[in-house]
């Protein structure tokens, strides 16, 4: 590691061509330039070359991993971001109507030329069997329109007679819908912001202005808010539960605290699915917790609590799973707090509460910040636990991404939601790196 005590490193950096800020250093460098190595080269140049070589050698060690991470992580994420703004399902297969959209202003009523272009595109797309892709793309903008495209495609395969407007409207009244034309205009470019707009419950009206979607279609903002709220709540409960435990572990003699630490580390090392399964077993209506509450007489046999497949289940299970991530950083900071400060405060007349509030607690803040940020970052992206114990009301934004990936197959939408989530997490990661330093992350 870099150490200021390393004399070798110090010489290399001083002679290695640093900007001439300090006069003292300047003089030193000048002196160094005058010196030569045994084979007659100026010392300064020899050192610069040596430091360049060692820098290259350090970089070469990192290079294989960096290349690996770029290929298996950075590029895939980049591709996902690209997918969130790029979808050429319509534009690539419907070139003529695309050209008409490019020439006209948003809000222009479709004329006969537009319908002619549309009819020709529909015929070609039907022939090349890409009409399904086209319909799917429009369906993302305006649900229920996929069948309009496929059924019309089937009928126009042999061509239509002009006037095209009447001909298309005769096939289906839906072609006259201005909302459909707005959706087609939105989709007529390969690059679009419509998936981001949809992620924020926004859409474009037929004048091209951004508006909110119908009240009963607003889901994403609510889901983002719920994700933030539940993550904050879980962070707070892990703090409430983690703080006393970390404090106890930090103040006990090391031998006993190491023993108790196993109770924290065992859950940490136990599979996520095992812990989620345990909570399902415990929280079921016919499960252990309900049975115990009945046995204790707290609830009656027909008043079994519903603690799973709702937010309660998600909160309990996530708190349990993330609790070690709060305890470990808190513990490592609390270990370093000098107990003499609290004793001094007490001897100066502070009550134990005041001593805790004014002396002890402020010193735990670095650990608290590290733990809270870590728990929050992890909670925001949780998928498995909410999917299994969350039910309908305990789902988070990750579950919506998975839903779009596996069920509705609206991959661009999944990518846009993932990109927004990613942006949030990266901001938190940056804050974490600034406050805690990513190399100070400790495991176990």
């Amino acid at each position: 590691m870099a150490s200021p005590l390393d004399p070798h490193a110090a010489v290399v950096t001083e002679a290695g061509g640093l900007p001439p800020e300090a006069p003292a250093r300047d003089a030193q460098a000048a002196r160094a330039a005058g010196l030569t190595t045994a084979d007659g080269k100026p010392l300064k140049r020899a050192l610069a070359r040596a430091s360049r070589r060692s820098r290259r050698r350090a970089f070469l060690l990192v290079l294989p991993l960096l290349a690996f991470i770029v290929i298996t992580f950075v590029i895939p994420i980049g591709q996902m971001l690209h997918r969130s703004v790029h979808n050429d399902g319509f534009s690539a297969n419907m070139p003529q109507i695309g050209a008409w959209f490019a020439q006209t202003e948003p809000g222009t009523a479709p004329d006969e030329a537009a319908f002619a272009a549309l009819a020709e595109d529909l015929r070609l797309a039907a022939e090349e069997r890409t009409i399904g892709i086209v319909g799917t793309r429009i369906n993302y903008e305006m649900s229920g329109t996929r069948s309009l495209f496929t059924s019309t495609g089937r009928k126009v395969r042999n061509g239509l007679e002009p006037p095209y407007r009447e001909a298309l409207l005769a096939l289906d009244k839906g072609w006259g819908d201005p909302a459909l034309w707005t959706a087609m205009r939105t989709s007529s470019t390969a690059y679009t912001d419509s998936f981001y707009l949809a992620s924020l419950d926004r859409t474009r009206d037929d004048q091209g202005r951004i508006t909110q979607v119908n009240e009963n279609h607003r889901v994403y903002i609510m889901l983002f808010m719920r994700t933030l709220w539940l993550s904050a709540l879980v962070t707070f409960t892990t703090f409430l539960l983690g703080f006393p435990v970390a404090h106890l572990l930090a103040t006990l003699p090391l031998r006993r605290s190491n023993l108790l630490m196993i109770l924290v580390l065992l859950p940490f090392w136990t599979s996520l699915l095992v812990r989620t399964t345990s909570w399902m077993v415990l929280l079921q209506q016919q499960g252990v917790v309900n049975d115990m509450l009945i046995w204790l007489g707290i609830i009656s046999a027909d008043g079994r609590l519903k603690m799973m497949y709702n937010q309660t289940g998600t909160i309990i299970a996530m708190t349990h799973i993330l609790l070690p991530f709060m305890i470990l950083p808190l513990y490592s900071v609390m270990r370093t707090i000098n107990p003499a400060y609290v004793r001094a405060a007490r001897s100066l007349g502070a009550t134990s509460w005041t001593a805790f509030r004014r002396i002890y607690f402020p010193q735990t803040l670095p650990g608290l910040g590290a733990g809270a940020l870590l728990v929050f970052i992890l909670a925001v992206g949780y998928y498995i636990t909410p999917a299994l114990v969350g039910g309908a009301s305990g789902q988070l934004i990750s579950n919506m991404i998975a839903e779009h990936m596996t069920r509705t197959l609206n991959w661009s939408m999944a990518a846009a939601l993932a990109a927004i989530l990613l942006a949030g997490v990266l901001i938190l990661y940056w804050v974490y790196d600034r406050l805690v330093g990513i190399d100070n992350l400790k495991l176990g």
Partner: protein, 323 residues
């Protein structure tokens, strides 16, 4: 934390309240993991303690769910247990196959992550490393970025990263790719993904070990005539080995426990234990899941013990141990 002799009555009360609270929190941490162990021996297909179990009646306990694990998916589970039965189990039982896949994927991705991660950590620990902070942040990011995002990205990447049939790259990589020449639904794809997810753990643990590493030992070895390779294997490696092994264990556990990426990028051939559990929990939840969970808990106890021993050994070597 001892109670001071001068503590006031209120403080005494608070002290005991505090200890009770801590006990309850420890219970909250550990009870869910312990409770499934007896339940996995339930003779009935329930998730709660039956009357027989609570009265310690042998009738209430059974190994049927463990037996179920071995036979689930076999062609002839009821056949006499001879060699044919065993080969049927080895090739067809779903949980056995999942375990084989988990171990194979886990070991290979751990090797990949550990080799690449250790090399990079050695480079990052050098004082002259350029762009240290940025590179470190990039290498750690797979741990911070939510798994669902990584899995989504990998899904797009693996279904588009295809090698055309007949090209030189296909001749080289062909056996590792799917029939269409892509990374999706292949062992190679899952192993690469799991290695990516395990790398941050290797980097973090090995870097932490190197913080306490005395570089002058390397220079001493060099001055005594050892070349860099000999220096690495005879001096550096033995000293950082505990960090490397615990990093490797973290990477292995990450792979062994990972389900989201497997759900997105793996095919039916790459069913792992967590994926099989996920299916089991989603479809027909049976106490067989609890039997798997119990085995996994025993497995994690073993891993925890190993890591703990390694940590103590490492501290003893570096003279940090309290004794």
């Amino acid at each position: 934390m001892a109670l001071q002799t001068y503590a006031s009555p209120m403080e005494r009360i608070w002290h005991y309240v505090y200890l009770t609270l801590c006990t309850l929190i420890f219970l909250f941490l550990i009870a869910p993991i312990l409770v499934i162990i007896p339940l996995s021996f339930n003779a009935e297909p329930y998730f709660t303690f039956t009357r027989e179990m609570l009265s310690f009646d042998a009738q209430g306990y059974s190994l049927r769910w463990y037996d179920n694990l071995m036979t689930f998916g076999m062609l002839a589970p009821d056949a006499p247990r001879d060699m044919a039965w065993f080969s049927d189990m080895w090739s067809n039982a779903k949980w056995v196959n999942a375990a084989k896949n988990s171990v194979l994927i886990g070991v290979l991705s751990t090797v990949l992550a550990t080799v690449l991660g250790t090399l990079a950590a050695l480079g990052l620990a050098r004082p002259e490393m350029p762009f240290r902070r940025l590179i470190m942040a990039t290498l750690i990011s797979p741990m911070i970025v939510p798994l669902i995002i990584t899995a989504t990205g990998l899904f797009f990447f693996y279904s588009s990263a295809c090698v055309p049939q007949g090209s030189w790259a296909h001749k080289l990589l062909g056996p590792f790719l799917s029939s269409s020449g892509c990374l999706a639904n292949t062992y190679l794809g899952v192993i690469m993904a799991h290695a990516t997810l395990g790398i941050p753990f290797v980097i973090i643990t090995v870097t932490a070990t190197l913080v306490g590493f005395d570089q002058s030992l390397n220079r001493a070895a060099a001055s005594l005539g050892a070349n860099p390779r000999v220096t690495f294997f005879r001096v550096t490696m033995p000293l950082i080995l505990p960090g490397v092994i615990s990093g490797a264990l973290f990477a292995f556990v990450t792979s062994f426990d990972e389900v989201v990426a497997v759900l997105f990028i793996a095919g039916p051939d790459q069913q792992t234990i967590p994926r099989q559990m996920w299916n089991g929990i989603r479809e027909q939840i049976s106490p067989a899941i609890l039997a798997v969970a119990t085995l996994l808990v025993i497995f994690s106890v073993a891993l925890l013990t190993t890591v703990e021993l390694l940590r103590r050994r490492s501290e003893r070597i570096r003279g940090l141990s309290p004794g």
